[in-house]
Symmetry: C2
Subunit: 415 residues, 2 copies
Amino acid sequence: MKELKGACIIAQSGGPTSAINASALGAIESALDNPCITAVYGASNGIRGVLDNRLFQMDKEDREELAHLKYTPSSVLGSCRYKLQDPDTDEADYKRILEIFKRYDVRYFFYNGGNDSMDTCNKISKFMLKNHYECRVMGIPKTIDNDLSGTDHCPGYGSAAKYVATSCMEIYLDARVYDIGMITVIEVMGRHAGWLTAAAALAGDYAPDLIYLPEVPFDVEQFISDTAAIYKKNGKAIVAVSEGIQDKNGKFINEYGISSPQTRDSFGHAELGGLAATLVSMIKARRIFGSVKVRGIEFSLLQRCASHVASQTDLDESYAAGKAAVDNAVIGITDKMVGFKCSRDGGYKCELELLPLDVVANTEKRVPREWINEAGNGILQGYVDYAMPLIQGETLQQKENGLPRFARLKKIVAR
Amino acid sequence: MKELKGACIIAQSGGPTSAINASALGAIESALDNPCITAVYGASNGIRGVLDNRLFQMDKEDREELAHLKYTPSSVLGSCRYKLQDPDTDEADYKRILEIFKRYDVRYFFYNGGNDSMDTCNKISKFMLKNHYECRVMGIPKTIDNDLSGTDHCPGYGSAAKYVATSCMEIYLDARVYDIGMITVIEVMGRHAGWLTAAAALAGDYAPDLIYLPEVPFDVEQFISDTAAIYKKNGKAIVAVSEGIQDKNGKFINEYGISSPQTRDSFGHAELGGLAATLVSMIKARRIFGSVKVRGIEFSLLQRCASHVASQTDLDESYAAGKAAVDNAVIGITDKMVGFKCSRDGGYKCELELLPLDVVANTEKRVPREWINEAGNGILQGYVDYAMPLIQGETLQQKENGLPRFARLKKIVAR
C-alpha cells in the first residue's frame, strides 16, 4: 500500500463515557509517533469543529499531560449531536469539510462515537472518494449503550457497567437498612437497548429483585404485580428499569405521565428521563402497597462519567481501539470501524478486528431475548458470563489530594 | 475503677453511612478481645432490636469475615428511626430495655448514630442509674451530615464528602461536553446543615459555579439571577444545592411546588427530596434562559453508601472511634460520646476525646457563616482547609470479580 503523508483529525461525538478519552489518547499517541502523520489535530465538538475550523493542535500538548487522558472522563475535545445532511440532498457540509481537509492537508480522519458517528464517517469517506480527495477514514466505537453491531462490545460499556453493578450493590445494602417496608426504583440509561440496565445483574447476591429492559414490552400491571409479590415476601423490593422501556404499542412508559408533546433532540430521539419518578407514582397510587416508602434513584450523568470506578479492562481496550485505528489507517486501511472479537471459553480473550463502516452504521444491537428470563423481569447467566470480564480491573487513575487527577490540556487552536 | 464483667450490646441507628460499620467493627473487635466482656451482641435495627429481643451473637461470627465490615456500607445490624418516649411521661420502653439488659447481663451499651442516638444513650443511661442497674453507656458518632456538636467532624462525613467532591468533578466535565447551553442543578443531602453540600467546593477547579447551603436563607430571585449571570458568561452553569435550603421565612424551597401537606418522618422531620426538579422547573419557566438544556441530578442514597470511593482516613478514624468507646467503657468511663479533636497547622492530626452525652445530644452544628461567601452562594478557603484532610486516602476495600467484597455475616439470633 502506498504511503500517504498528511495531517490527521481526531474527533469525538455523541454522549461521553469514562473511556472515550482513552481511545482518543490511543489515536493521538500513535499519530504523534508516526512519521507519515505530519500534524495531529483534535476537532472541537466533533464534526462541528471541522465545519467551524476549530481544530486543537495536539502536537503542542505536553505528552505527560496527555497521558492523563486515559483516566479523564467525558470528551476532552468536546462533543456534538450535529447530524450531517444526506449528501444526496445537501452537499454543503461535505464541501466545507473537504475545504478544511484541503486547507490543513488532512489525509486521515478518525471519528470516535456511536452509531451516528459511524454513519458520518461513512458519508464523509464516500464524498471524499467521489471528489478524488485521498483520505482514510476510520471509526472508533464508543458507547455506554453497547448497541453497535459487529463488535463483541463497545469501549465505554465496561466502565459504565461496573458503575451500575457497584452502585446497585451499595444501594441493595442501604435500601434494606430500616425495619420498615421500602421499594426502590433505579433508572438506568439505555434508549432502545437494555445492555446497561442488564449490568445490574452483575451485582449477583446484591442485584435488584426485578430488572426490566426495553427488549421486552413493558406491562404496567405486570410490573405492579411482580413488585407486589417481591415486596409481600421480603418487605423490600428493588427494581431496575431501563429509561427506554416501552409498552406493547411502543409508547415510552415515562411518557405516561406527560400530557404535552415530548421534546426531541436533534436526531429526532425523544428526550427521556423521569421514568423512576413515574414508576414511583404508579406504586404509591396502588392501595396494595399501603404506606410503604418508595424511592426513585436516577443514575443520571454519573453512570457515564464516573471515571473513579472505571474498568481498567475497558480503559485498556479503549486505548487499543484508538491506537489500532491510526496504526491501520497508516498502512492503507480505510472505511473501517475497529471492533472487538472476544472469546470467553478458557479465560477471556479480546482481539481487535476491522469492520466495514456501512455494516455498523445505523443498526442497533439489542440484548438477546435468550439472556432475559421468560417473564421479562430478570437477566440470565448467559449475560453475566458475557459481561463479567468487561468490568474487571480497578482503574489506575492517579489521585491528587484524594481526588481524581484529570488531564489539563492547553487546547491551542490551529490558525 | 472497679472491673465490670458482663455482656455488651452494640447498636446502630439513623441513616447509614459508608463508615458506620467500620465503627461497629472497632467496637466489636475490642469487645471480643476484652476479657471483661462476656458476650458481644449486635442489636437488630438499633434500639428496636433491644425492645424486640432480637440480638445477634457477634461472637459466633468468623473474625476474618467480620474484618470486611470496615469496607461494607450501610448498617450491617440494621437501623431504625424509632424515638424513645421521654422517660418522664412514659417509662415503658426503658423498663423493657432494663428487662433485656438483665436477661443477658448487659453491662455495656454502645450506640452508633447521630444526634437522636446520643439523646437515646443519655436517657437510657439516666434510667439505669435511677434504677440502680450498673451499666456503662457510650455513644459512637456517625453522620454524613457532620452536624454533631463538640467533635471536629463526624465519622462517615469524610467518605460522603469524597463522593460528593469526586462526583462534582466528573459532572463538571460531562456537563460541558456539548456545544450547547446547559445548566445542571445538583441536589446534595443535608436537612439543616450544609456540610455535605459544601464538599462540592473540594472539587476545586471543577467545583460547581454556585453552592447554596441551608445556613443562608435562600432567595429564589437571587438564585435565578446568580445562575443567569454565570450562564450568560460561560454558556454553562452548574449549581449545587443542599436539600434543606429554606427561604427567609423558613419554608423549604422544595415545598414551593407542593400543594398537599408534607409527609413527615417519625421524628417530625419533613421528608425532603425532589428539590433539584423544583429548581429545574423554576429555571425552565424563565424566559431569560431561552431553550437551554437544564438537568437536575440527585445524589440520593449513593452519597451515603458509595463505599467504593470511601475515604480511608474516614474509615480508619471511624474504626478508632468504635474501638475507643469500648476501650474506655471497660476502664470505667460512661455517658460519653467519642469525638475527634484535630489540628491542621503543620499537617493534619486527629486525636480522640470524650464528650459528655448531654452536651452533644440534640444540638446541631452548622457551617460557620465565615466559611460561606458574602453573597451566600459560594464556599471559602476556610472550609476547604478544614475538610480536605478528611477525604484523603483511597479505600482498601477488597474486590471480588471486579466488584466490592462485602462482609457476609451469619447473624445468629440469641435465645
